[in-house]
Amino acid sequence: MSRAGIRVYLQVYKTQIIRSMTYKFEVYGNILMQSIIMLASAYFWKALFKNSDTVKGVDVDTMLIYTVVSAMISVVLTCNVERRIMTSVDKGTIAIDMMRPVNVFGVFLAEDIAGITALVFQNMLPILVIGCLFIKLPTPAGPAHFALFLVSLFMAFWINWLIACMFGMIAFWTLNMDALIQVKKHLIRLLSGSIIPLWFFPAWLRNILEWLPFAYLYQLPLDLYIGKYPVSSAQCQRGLCVQLLWLVLLTMGFLFLQKRVTSKVMIQGG
């Protein structure tokens, strides 16, 4: 990528951060909502563990850490790219966006990374503080676990963004996808382990989910963080390998779709 290109993306990044700072009430609302979800799950687990010490190899303290860290991960996995593509196609501005001398998807990515940067301060830190005060200090299982967690979280971010971006590209073929976006949101929320870990799911379902990309958004990073498996264990290595595999597959899918979409817009003019 040329130096001028990078400068453009940096400029987009900066502008988007400034834009994110303007909606104050939305920020408070989000913190409040995230805290409700987090506190409710914490009490849910506390109530369940009232009569049992460990279930599926974890105790209540681990489950509380899981809850806090999951709420924090959700900040890293927020992206707006699907809606961005949808409105762009809807309003017909996509053709102009694509004519510009920078990759339009690069611009969307820069915007999303900027949004997340702003959210780290507006959302992740407040959640951490509230989590520490009312639930539990989320300490990782160990330095090696924490390092692997960061690697896995980095890949989770890309997987999430690529899925969202490709999903958004459906808008080039059908227009109204509000309902579809909701389906995707709920499925990811429930099948990724973000609220309820996949260890509690029946074996047949777990076996399927382990091969789908959703589990690699929340479940794997969280497992690494709480130290569900030893660092050198087969589960750990296999998990990271499958995650990498999905990253490669989705990148290839993205590049392919990007070409298709571009030629479609070129022919029809948006």
Partner: protein, 273 residues
């Protein structure tokens, strides 16, 4: 006599509005199919995951999963009803900013009535589907008897619960008369209600329970009446009396909300400010 005539007039208009709402399905058939997929998936998968966990642990605060399904199902049903009739409360900010109340203020009917009933959201029906499915599953699991008395109790409960939800939406929405901004309370309200009506609130700390019982009466949407109906100890209102308190709480919440709305409406200055 005059009062009766007015009541009939309102019923007449309501019937016409419901008819129009149904016609709007024909207008956008693709939309309703989309929501028919999306809403049931949300609640059915949501319940399934809870069930996996409760299966593992046996029960949550003395509620087994048949009873939880009963609670969850009824909660989703009253949610669906509130979506059909009262969802506009979520978007009140836009109504205030766009000066939409001008039109209603010129008409001879109650503004609160017009606000809710001229825009019945028939798509809320798609939420009813998963509610009924989970509820039926729960009934079957715990062997619930559909005697006439029980059916009556459930109807009273649903009316009360829907009114409580609608009242809370209206109170939150009415704050836009003062803030004059278009805040979307939707996601926030849904999250709050989901967490407090789909699980027994006895799992929360006592201070929360107190607020949910006496200050914001969300506990009466599902927890108290359902535990009353199923004979689970809730420490406050057992038996059928809980259902009647729900109805009372619903009417009271709606009256307070309507009063608050009217107070706000006095500050309303149409669009452009």
């Amino acid at each position: 006599m005059k009062l009766l005539r007015e009541l009939f007039h309102y019923l007449d208009v309501t019937a016409a509005n419901i008819k129009i709402a149904f016609l709007s399905i024909i207008e956008y058939p693709a939309n309703i199919i989309g929501w028919l997929l999306s809403n049931p998936i949300q609640f059915l998968v949501g319940f399934a995951t809870i069930q996996f966990v409760v299966n593992e642990f046996g029960a949550i605060n003395g509620w087994n999963y048949g009873q939880l399904a009963f609670l969850y199902g009824l909660s989703v049903i009253s949610h669906a009803l509130s979506m059909i009739f009262f969802v506009n409360g979520w978007f009140m900010g836009w109504w205030v900013l766009d000066g939409e109340f001008d039109r209603m203020l010129t008409r001879p009917m109650s503004v609160v009535y017009q606000f809710f009933f001229t825009n019945i959201n028939i798509f809320g029906i798609t939420d009813l589907v998963p509610g009924v499915i989970v509820f039926a599953y729960g009934c079957q699991k715990i062997g619930f008897c559909f005697t006439l008395a029980n059916v009556f109790q459930i109807l009273v409960l649903l009316v009360g619960a829907t009114l409580i939800r609608g009242g809370v939406y209206l109170i939150l929405g009415s704050t836009s008369f003062w803030t004059r901004s278009a805040i979307d309370f939707g996601a926030f309200t849904q999250e709050l209600f989901d967490k407090t009506t789909m699980y027994p609130i006895s799992m929360y700390p006592e201070a929360f329970q107190f607020i949910l019982t006496y200050i914001i009466p969300i506990g009466w949407v599902s927890f108290y009446p359902v535990s009353g109906l199923l004979g689970i100890e809730n420490g406050l209102a057992n038996g059928q009396v809980a259902t009647w308190i729900t109805l009372f709480a619903g009417i009271l919440t709606m009256l307070v909300a309507a009063g608050f709305f009217k107070l706000g409406l006095r500050r309303y200055e149409s669009a452009g400010n």
